[in-house]
Symmetry: C2
Subunit: 324 residues, 2 copies
């Protein structure tokens, strides 16, 4: 069967069934942000992310420094999504012939910058040649006292996000269009104060941990898009969700830019990926600075628009292999 | 600077200096077969290997089942090289459009076969699209009571290998030539009993742990070639080595095939890679079934040929980025 038919999530589901023979000390295997392994009274978290030139990044839009920064940032975000602390990073890298050692040096400077910010050590890896395009594969090990999975959401819980959404998706659109599009040239001149933070959010996302997780029932980082990542929580927790369009936090920069482009900023927040904000569920009265955007319900997935109309939402967002 | 000038090992050396800021619980970081992290009174081993289509494998020569088997085998070999026990495997995979879900299923069957043989659990990973060619990146976690690094070889130690060498390199040469070369067609007809085990050694290497490691002073697995991997032990242990050409174990199949091809089988053993045998040093009187091929000396790297002539050897073998 062609992979475009079953898609990334179909394939993962299939592989998960095939690899079901796991020992009891693996508390969470395939299907969460990170695997959890019990070692004595400690819990080890392991997450792995691959970034491929032409799929996940384009050297025309990013410096190697920014790329290195983002490479570790997305892995740190996965550890934060489980309530953990990132510790050791392992870097496998496939390098094409036309790259210089200065390029790789710059890449590692970006990795080391964010590693320093979050106390992560570079502990090993593998270096080899690539036939075409740069290939990065990172494994980040972390630890946690209490693990938060995708599967603990309860009916009545509030649904929260830790920061404004959609900036990264808009940033990517701006990057992709800025070379050619006349309107975006105008936008650039008029509006560069708004644009740069959006582009930076895409190129160098800053993962932020949730400080107090004691009452959090489930959590995920928004890497594929709010709707698709919320759907993962619903799937794993076997619950439904209602969210309110006008409660979704939008940055001033995204609102500004969307207004100029005559487009709906919330679209970017709902379906755009790579925000690397945390999406979590907790009792609705929890004390938090995060934004409450909805509630967990028994079943169904609904979005209530600005006029109070209730619509079913589907898990739209980025999925590998699927044709758009 | 072009990577072809500094080569894989030059680049690793550079990155190792750059990433020198490591916490004390990391006992061995960049530069050994696996990283070692102390967790309480346990030692965790982590190794990572990338395999890229067109660089490390060619789908014309291997089935996906064989590829999956080898993918985990090379990682298990790294854990064995540190004296450890393999435990949890994380698979990152970049899949091109033209692959089917059956291809990936077959690949995982090969992974699960060897995982079952060695008690390894598949604990997680990342699945994404690749622009061109299949990309595999594996991270294997293991544990060990006593760690054996590359840096403990002592003057006077014997140099040992756990099995015959060169089969894999000959197997690869046969695979590459068998489509076109008339002589190898003849060879195939005359000599297929010898050929198949050589090819199998290349496609599905079987890692074998060393049972008793209590007196072993240093160890590495032979992935790049005997001379280059022995040089790594010399570099890290700051010692020299003398090996005897006629003590290097050669399989009957390799001897047969080399004779027919009028070539020296020992060349394949010295410079051919991917044997995944273990190369270790230990006091010369150690009780072992392994083959003693030489001694650790104060300095210099020498090979003594069948006529007793002493020659300097250089660390020849496979190195990424270097032009041949």
């Amino acid at each position: 069967m062609q992979l475009s038919k079953i898609g990334e999530f179909g394939l993962i589901k299939k592989l998960r069934t095939k690899c079901k023979n796991i020992p009891p000390e693996i508390l969470t295997g395939i299907g969460d942000d990170a695997a959890v392994i019990k070692q004595g009274n400690k819990k080890i978290l392991i997450t792995t992310d691959m970034m491929i030139e032409g799929i996940h990044f384009d050297p025309a839009f990013t410096t190697f420094y920014q790329l290195g920064y983002k490479f570790l940032a997305v892995n740190i975000s996965d550890i934060f999504a489980m309530g953990g602390k990132p510790k050791y990073f392992f870097i496998s890298i496939g390098i094409p012939k036309n790259y210089t050692s200065e390029d790789i040096d710059e890449l590692y400077s970006g990795i080391l910058k964010i590693a320093g910010e979050f106390g992560v050590a570079i502990a090993g890896g593998d270096t080899c040649a690539s036939k075409k395009g740069l290939i990065l594969s990172g494994t980040l090990m972390g630890s946690a006292d209490r693990i938060i999975t995708r599967s603990g959401a309860k009916v009545g819980d509030g649904i929260f996000v830790t920061s404004s959404l959609g900036d990264s998706a808009m940033g990517l659109m701006l990057l992709k269009s800025q070379m050619s599009d006349v309107r975006s040239q105008k936008l650039k001149t008029r509006n560069s104060k708004s644009l740069l933070p959006l582009i930076k959010k895409h190129l160098m996302p800053e993962p932020i941990p949730l400080k107090n997780t004691s009452k959090v029932t489930s959590m995920i980082d928004i890497s594929d898009g709010l709707l698709i990542d919320l759907s993962h929580i619903c799937d794993e927790s076997r619950v439904g969700a209602v969210i309110y369009k006008n409660k979704i936090p939008i940055s001033g920069e995204l609102a500004d830019t969307a207004k100029f482009l005559r487009t709906d900023p919330v679209k970017f927040a709902l379906n755009g990926g790579e925000d690397y904000a945390l999406l979590f569920t907790a009792p609705p009265d929890i004390k938090t600075t995060a934004f409450k955007i909805g509630e967990i319900v028994k079943s169904g997935r609904f979005i209530i628009d600005e006029n109070g109309r209730k619509k079913i939402f589907r898990s739209e967002g980025y999925e590998h292999f699927k044709r758009k």
